[in-house]
Every structure is written in C-alpha cells, then in structure tokens.
C-alpha cells in the first residue's frame, strides 16, 4: 500500500491549572502543553500512541503547517507517522507533545512566571524525564486516554518511553525504545557539558534572563553564538565518522588552501549552517535544561546501579532498537536494557540495525529499521 501524509495539521494546547511537583523539589503552579494528534481515537480508546521527542524535537511529529511550504514545515518524524506508514494513522491515534520546559508552545523558560509576571528565564526549574512523563500523563487524562497502546521515542524520547513503563506500568502496553539508553555514559555527559558551557559563557546569556535584554541592533538578545556552538558539537556526535567522510571528506570550499579562519573545509560550512539554523528556532534555556534531563536520567540510580532491579516494576512489552554506527547511544546500551528486561521475564524484541548514519539513523527510513518497526506496530492488538 502506498503511504501518504497526514496532511495539514494545527497544534493544540492543553492547560493544567493544578500544580505539578517536580523531581527537583520545585513545583510549577500551572502549565500548558502544546500537542498535536493524528488519526482518530477509537471508541474503546485502545489505539492511542504517544510519540516522545528528543533534544531538539517537539510536538510537531507529522504532517505540515503550511501547504505552500510543506518541506520546511514538515513534522520531524513524518516518515514514520501517517496513513500506510509504520505508525499507521488509519489504525492508531497518535499524539505528539512538546515537553515541559520546551520552547515551542509548552510552558518553558520563555513563558511568563505568574509570580513575577516576567519570563521565567533562569528561574524555570530543572525538569527531568520523570517530570515530563508525569506531565504527559496529565495530558493523557485530559484526552480520556487511560492506557497507551504504545509509547514510542528515539534517543531522549526513548528514555521517556522507558520511564512510562516504570512510572505507570499499567498505562502503557508497548514501549518502543529506539537509539536510546537507560543511562548516559560519562562521555555523553561530557559532550552535554561542553554544550552547556558554550551557552553559559556567551555574553548575551545574561544569567539566563536574556529575554529582558536587547542587543545593539535593538533586537531581543539571545546567546546565539553559545547555542550555535552547542548545536555544532552535538551535531557532530549524532553523525558517524564514515558518514561525514562520505558526505564531506576533506572537500574544500574554495578548491585550495587559503590559510585563514573562515570556512576552508565544507564540513565547517555545514556545521556553521546547522548551528545558525538551530540558534534561530531553539531557546538556549530549553537546550540547557534538556541536556540536564538527559544527564540525570538513570532509573537504576535508586537501586545501587542495578538496572535489573529498577525495571522490576515494568509490565509493558518492549521493542528496542539501536544502530550499529551510533556511538553516542551505542548498541551496547540498548543490549544492557534488553538483558535487564529479559531478567524480568518481559516480552522484548531487539533490532540492531546496520545503518551508516550514526545516532540520527533513528530519524531515517532505513528499510530494515522500518520493516521491523512496521511488523511490531502491526502486531499490537487494539
């Protein structure tokens, strides 16, 4: 069957007036979540699937906003979600949500702090994967969804899928944890710290309260360079060495060495472009707190590092996938998760996909990857 797009979509917003207590001990008196839905919730409300986003993602998972600019306004996982696609919206009711602390419509650092009537900025509390899942559960309640048929996510999104099975074992039947890990390695935290320092040391950061400042052009000051650098270092880690070699190699911008600090090699141009683009659409405070959420996530922490014990609460069926060239969230991490699930006698299938594109492979439509996903999602009873 030929697949198609969910078409033009419009984001929605859910407002929650009850406070939410956060893992850090802080609380938010009220909050909103931006979300989108695709497909129809069935009468039994048994076909709902939650898509959790990663570091740079949001609630705009599929479809497009502007018919005149389909490509530019396409959802980040559009190749996965739609009629006839692996997450088939003729069968499933799919929900995408922007996480708490996000910068695309949900309550976050740029939102107005009701206590001060000014943007939260640096006063926005640190939020964790656990907090995100708790907030997502409020959204599920408001949509009348008692149990998700599945919760799916890649990278940081996979951590949320896993957390759902621990926080709400009876509210998720299937968890799809892709290119993810039950905990970051020291190397991963190190990359995140470099990204944070890039932002924190930008003179336009103003201690996180940059929304109140303007730059010398009279525009709102944002720590653009810091955010750009953070994205550049992150972006390198999401790709594989061989992929960069193939795509750019040592290709020169001007065909010869010019002995200067401007763009010399094509890879430099590409990275700068990616960084600039990102700095225009993302908020530095959100980037900071999201990298912290990544670092803190570790369900085994309260169990002396014993992941097998930590997962004893889980009841869901699992699909775990990793990518051979992903050195940021390596297959080894996924295998550790799989063995811990096996220890607890849970149903689990694990695909280790041979795809050259590194961590970002999870966003692509590698045939083996999508075949396994399709097979798994088709097998979910409604």
């Amino acid at each position: 069957m030929k697949s198609s797009s969910v078409g033009q979509v419009t984001p929605k917003k859910a407002y929650f007036d009850a406070p939410i207590a956060l893992k850090s001990g802080a609380a938010l008196p009220e909050f909103s979540l931006a979300y989108e839905t695709y497909g129809e919730l069935n009468a039994a409300k048994s076909n709902a699937v939650l898509v959790c986003h990663a570091l740079s993602g949001n609630h705009h998972v599929a479809g497009f906003y502007d018919p005149a600019n389909k490509k530019e306004t396409l959802g980040w996982w559009d190749n996965l979600v739609g009629p006839g696609k692996p997450l088939d919206t003729r069968r499933f009711f799919v929900v995408g949500v922007n996480n708490l602390g996000g910068c695309h419509g949900s309550t976050g650092p740029r939102s107005k702090n009701p206590a001060t009537n000014r943007p939260y900025g640096a006063d926005f509390p640190l939020v964790t994967v656990e907090d995100w899942v708790a907030a997502q559960a409020r959204l599920a309640d408001s949509l009348g969804i008692d149990t998700w048929a599945a919760v799916i996510g890649g990278s940081l999104g996979g951590m949320q899928a896993l957390q759902w099975t621990l926080a709400f074992p009876d509210r998720v039947r299937h968890a799809l944890v892709i290119a993810s890990t039950p905990r970051l390695s020291a190397q991963n935290i190190a990359f995140n710290e470099v990204a944070r320092q890039a932002i924190l040391s930008d003179p336009d950061f103003h201690g996180g309260h940059y929304y109140a400042y303007t730059d010398d052009q009279g525009e709102e000051a944002i720590p653009r360079n810091g955010l750009k650098l953070a994205r550049m270092v992150g972006h390198i880690t999401y790709l594989s060495d061989s992929q960069l070699a193939e795509k750019f190699g040592r290709r020169l911008r001007h065909g010869k060495h010019r002995f200067h600090y401007d763009v010399e090699f094509e890879i430099e141009s590409y990275l700068r472009h990616q960084g600039d683009k990102f700095a225009c659409i993302f908020d530095a405070n959100t980037y900071l707190l999201t990298t912290k959420a990544l670092d803190y996530f570790d369900p085994a922490f309260e169990y002396d590092g014993n992941l097998r014990l930590a997962l004893a609460r889980a009841r869901a069926n699992f699909f775990v996938a990793s990518f051979t060239t992903d050195w940021r969230f390596s297959p080894e991490n996924s295998r550790e998760l799989v063995y811990a699930l096996l220890h607890n006698g849970l149903n689990v299938s694990y695909a280790e996909i041979d795809c050259p594109a590194g961590h970002d492979s999870f966003l692509l439509d590698d045939p083996c990857y999508h075949a396994a996903l399709t097979a798994y999602l088709e097998g979910i009873s409604l």
Binding site: R335, L342, V348, S349, Y350, A371, A372, G379
Partner: protein, 205 residues
C-alpha cells in the same frame, strides 16, 4: 549468525523438539530463523520464548510471527544471558555454522538447564559417496557449494558424540532421521540429521 536452512526442511524436527519441552517453559532458540519453532512452542506448550538471529529479514519475520527476537551475534557468545535463565536453549540446524563450537555448547548449558541441538550429519552415506567420488557433498540438508556455504564446521554424529564425551556434556536423548523417518540402524551412516537433548553432569545425577 542466521539460519542457513529453510525452516521448512527443519520443520519435522520441530515436532520432536516440541515433545521435549514441558508446559510454560522458558525457551531460547539460537538461530531462530522466522520464529516458526518458537511460534509452535508458544501455541502447543505455552512456552515463553525468545529467538536470537542476526539476519534482519528474520528479525522482521519473527516480529510478524509474534515471536520475541533478539538481533545478537552469537559469535560474541551468550555472556549477557544469566545462568539457568532458560529451561531449554535450542540450536536447530545451526551448530555447523558457529565457529566457536565448544564455547557455544558450554554457554547453552550454562544459560539453560538443558540444550537441544540438531545438525546435518556429514557422515550420511550419500555424503561419504560424494567424497569418495571426489566431490564435496551437496544434499537437501547440505544445500550449499563449498564456496558459498555458511557452514564452517564439518562433523558427523560420531564426531559430535566424541566431543560430548570429552567435554563432559551429557547426552540425555538422541534421535536420528533420514527423509523425516527415524533411523536406528547405524545413524552415523544412515541419518541425514541428528537431534540431541543435552544436559550437565550436575543436573543429571
């Protein structure tokens, strides 16, 4: 490692394997192909099964068949699996494709209380005749040419039993077949395929 043989050929041995599996067992099938055996064991014995296969097509096929499958490379061993975590660890028609023969057998008997192994018998009379005529055997259970075979170990029933004796692996039961029928008379000469139920000395006393 992936399953080199069509599981249609192996299907007759599945029924015999199923007889060795009790209700509600935990079963690990190494080189599980499309998951047909685990599917059968789930249906007939309510077994909780997991398959291991390296081939991406087999992984998708297992998932389609509703079977848990793990895309692991068996040449890396079974070190992630806990001791005694399965009742039976099965390797159907794949032992000859694994390079580390003794380690994998030992690992199967560490992870499982018992192991079930089936393999094509290189000592089968027509294979001997082929060798005597100067060519490597090619048959239903050895469908490959020497240059494209996934098989890396070539052994007979007699070789296998000698190895078990040497490695202190207990043969609990053995069945031999040719054309899907039992062979009792000189299996090393007359059987195409052999099927073994193996145990550890400490569990079989």
């Amino acid at each position: 490692m992936s399953t080199p043989h069509s599981r249609m050929d192996g299907r007759f041995d599945f029924l015999h394997i199923a007889r060795w599996i009790r209700e509600n067992e935990r079963v690990l099938d190494l080189g599980c192909g499309d998951g047909a055996l685990l599917s059968l064991l789930k249906r007939e014995k309510n077994a909780r099964g997991y398959g291991v296969d390296l081939d991406a097509k087999n992984v998708a096929a297992c998932i389609r068949n509703g079977v848990n499958v793990l895309q692991f490379n068996l040449e890396r061993g079974l070190s992630g699996f806990e001791d005694n975590s399965f009742d039976h660890v099965i390797m159907s028609l794949s032992l000859q494709t694994v390079r580390h023969t003794v380690p994998i057998l030992k690992e199967m008997l560490r992870v499982g209380h018992e192991a079930v192994v089936s393999f094509p018998n290189f000592g089968f009379a027509p294979h001997r005749a082929a060798i005597a005529a100067g060519r490597m055997p090619v048959s239903r259970h050895l469908p490959y040419q020497w240059f494209n075979s996934p098989n890396v170990r070539f052994f007979t029933i007699a070789d296998f039993e000698a190895l078990c004796a040497e490695e202190n692996i207990v043969i609990l039961e053995c069945l031999s077949f040719a054309d899907g029928a039992f062979i009792t008379d000189d299996p090393n000469l007359n059987a195409e395929v052999a099927l073994y139920r193996l145990g550890r000395p400490d569990l079989t006393a």
